[in-house]
């Protein structure tokens, strides 16, 4: 089944988010951190959509905007056909039933004063309409689903290990049976030995409940394993976008190529030539003119700082925002 036949669950149309920077002195010209600039995406039901990029490239802000937690400065977001950016608080509360999130750090995302039952049942209570017995049953079933037992209901988060806490977080996120789940680096705070368990659990649950995942990660190996399609972001802009297989086999954008080069190899004797990126990520307050990757790009050309490169189709279901491909396209 190709994507064009399906109706997307989530559509982002030219979404931009910027945060005002605190002024150093009054009457200073107001400045903004452009966290997300002009991002357009479509996420299809049942798929795992990866978001990849360095720290500070706007991954988490993008995720928050798709959840309606972050006001957008411009652009529109449609969730399941409804315009998320134009919802009233009451509608948003209704919509929250079908969108949830798993946090990176299971230690701070669970209130240490709540028992496991209280934690997992909290979304049920907030949404209302469940008796205590129903809550109890739902929570017990969900705990069983994520690999915990009913005996854990009345224990506290401090009694659990990192992996188990993340399971509690997953149970909590899934208790309302959402259609759409944001996984904000769900395994990066955990021991490496637990990574695979949690990822497998997420994939099993996806199969069972047909959930759409937005999977944020900076671990490319995990993304390759888990995701169907992926977007590579840099300084708030989409650099490359398309199916995981195509992007990993044939990275079109120099930034993606650099990321692929940086994948850590377990082969110590590996003599593969690494292209290292020079310099630091520029400040998102003053992004470089033209292509955002200017100045660090190994294949920079004189024209690169002139205008922003358009997102062009490199091959089917594979887009890149680079003048290299824009030029090739127009020939």
């Amino acid at each position: 089944m190709t994507n064009s036949e399906r109706r997307p669950l989530l559509i982002l149309e030219n979404v931009s988010v910027s945060f005002p920077v605190k002024k150093d002195f009054p009457f200073q010209k107001s400045r903004f951190v452009r966290a997300v600039t002009d991002v357009s995406l479509e996420i299809y039901p049942g798929e795992t959509f990866g978001v990849v990029g360095e720290s500070g490239c706007g991954k988490s802000t993008l995720a928050n905007t798709t959840l309606g937690m972050q006001r957008v400065n411009s652009g529109k977001i449609y969730f399941d056909g409804q315009e998320l950016t134009a919802m009233t608080p009451q509608q948003l509360k209704q919509a929250r039933r079908s969108m949830q999130m798993i946090f990176q750090d299971p230690f701070s995302s669970l209130n240490p004063r709540f028992s496991v039952f209280d934690l997992v049942a909290e979304p049920l209570r907030i949404q209302g309409g469940y008796t205590y017995a129903q809550q109890r049953a739902e929570v017990a079933a969900m705990l069983h689903e994520v690999g915990l037992s009913e005996g854990d209901l009345d224990r506290y988060p401090s009694d659990f290990s990192g992996g188990q806490k993340q399971r509690i977080g997953i149970a909590r996120a899934l208790i309302l049976k959402p259609q759409y789940l944001v996984c904000d680096e769900p395994v990066s705070a955990l021991d490496v030995s637990v990574h695979a368990q949690i990822l497998n659990l997420l994939m099993d649950l996806q199969e069972k409940y047909h959930i759409t995942y937005l999977f944020i990660s900076h671990n490319l190996a995990v993304v390759k394993r888990v995701c169907d399609r992926v977007v590579v972001m840099y300084l708030g802009k989409v650099m490359e976008y398309g199916s995981v297989d195509k992007i990993f086999r044939n990275p079109a954008h120099p930034y993606t190529q650099a990321l692929m080069n940086a994948i850590f190899d377990t082969d110590i004797d590996c003599t593969r030539e690494r292209k290292r990126l020079q310099g630091e990520v520029p400040s998102p307050i003053n992004p470089p003119p033209g292509c955002r990757f200017c100045g660090r790009c190994p294949e920079e050309q004189p024209g690169c700082s002139q205008g922003e490169p358009p997102l062009v189709e490199v091959e089917a279901d594979h887009y890149a925002a680079c003048f290299l491909h824009a030029a090739r396209r127009s020939e």
Binding site: L67, M69, F103, N111, L176
Partner: protein, 378 residues
């Protein structure tokens, strides 16, 4: 109706549970237990005062019993001018002291937590307005204001409570606000928002429990402060003239010349009362501070703190003074050490001297470095 009652019952249960858990923690703390026992003792005295007190302390008609010395009939004697039983007055005095302290403390806790949480969590203009009010109130001295207000509105406990509460919440609100600003960024608050929780829900279920410990601690400490203030005001004649309080007992004893007659017990007794109540509340407050603030746990004993200061800080101060005076040339080393200083100075300058070889060294007074150097060159 039934639902509302159920809701209120649930809330009360939650509060009781939190307080109960807290007292359990406090009981485990050695210093806190002392405070708890004294407060419990005082509370029993206050509640059952009519049963415990042997005489009616308000009875000022005992002309025959004026100025009696302590005896088995009057454990602490009677007052010089009115013949009231001092022991009974002491017991009744617990009531005014504890009730003023606790009521004001609790009102301050409620005001401070409400406004602090609102300012911290809601932010924006709510925060700005509340914090500007705090700034204004903080610079107004409370005690002189209470004195003025009692002159204007008459001397009653209500005035004292209202004025202290109206001006006392500011410090607490500031502390709570800063704490709330930390908590509101926690991921579990975000998770609750994500589940569709209202601001009220988050403030009640997530933020208030997180600052409740802080709240109880500050209530204990402010109560102690208010008790002292109440005693002081009563001593000045600005308390409730009809009530019996320790401050007023002190004032009466002084004005009737208790010291002149040698009735020291009539001064000591209320003094001990004030001391015990304030001490116990302070003890509890400080114990809570230690329980809450792990960094303070090690220096629980004041003597330990002073010892630590003696050993490290003062030594450092003296050392730095020495260095400074040496640098300025004021420092005169004691005569016995003069030679030593000269020698070490010489030893330090020697290696820089290109002409002074190992051979020259052996002729000088200082042998050790020379031997070492020859040993190394050999």
């Amino acid at each position: 109706m039934k639902k509302v009652l159920m809701r209120i019952g649930c809330i009360l249960m939650q509060i009781l549970y939190a307080i109960g858990r807290f007292f359990k923690k406090l009981w485990k703390h050695k210093q806190g237990r002392v405070g708890l026992i004294i407060v419990g003792f005082l509370a029993i005295l206050a509640i059952f005062a009519p049963l415990i007190a042997p005489y009616d302390p308000y009875d000022v008609t005992q002309r025959a019993a004026k100025g009696l010395l302590p005896s088995w009939e009057h454990l602490l004697g009677t007052t010089i001018t009115t013949g009231q039983d001092i022991f009974s007055m002491l017991i009744y005095g617990t009531r005014s002291s504890l009730s003023i302290g606790l009521i004001t403390g609790i009102v301050i806790a409620i005001l401070g937590s409400l406004l602090g949480i609102a300012a911290g969590y809601l932010g924006g203009w709510v925060d700005t307005v509340i914090m500007r009010i705090v700034d204004v109130l903080l610079v107004i001295p409370t005690l002189p204001l209470v004195i003025v207000m009692t002159n204007v509105l008459g001397t009653s406990y209500a005035v004292i409570v209202i004025v202290f509460a109206a001006f006392g919440w500011t410090g607490l609100a500031r502390v709570i606000r800063s704490q709330v600003m930390l908590i509101k960024n926690a991921n579990y608050v975000k998770a609750a928002e994500l589940a569709g929780a209202s601001k009220w829900y988050i403030m009640w279920r997530h933020i208030l429990p997180a600052v409740s410990n802080l709240l109880i601690m500050s209530t204990a400490l402010t109560s102690a402060g208010i008790m002292v203030a109440e005693a002081g005001l009563s001593f000045l004649g600005l308390g409730n003239p009809e009530a019996i309080s320790w401050g007023k007992m002190l004032a009466d004893a002084q004005s009737s010349g208790a010291m002149l007659f040698g009735h020291w017990w009539s001064i000591l007794a209320p003094g001990v009362g004030i001391f015990l109540s304030v001490y116990s509340f302070m003890r509890i407050g400080l114990a809570l501070e230690e329980i809450l603030n792990p960094r303070m746990r090690k220096g629980s004993n004041m003597i330990k703190v002073f010892k630590h200061l003696n050993n490290t800080y003062l030594d450092e101060v003296f050392a730095s003074m020495d260095d400074d005076s040496k640098r300025r040339g004021e420092y005169q080393p004691p005569a016995a050490n003069l030679a030593e200083v000269a020698v070490t100075d010489a030893a330090e300058t020697k290696p820089q001297d290109p002409n002074a070889g190992p051979a020259a060294d052996t002729t000088s007074e200082n042998f050790e470095p020379a031997e070492k150097e020859t040993g190394e060159t050999a």
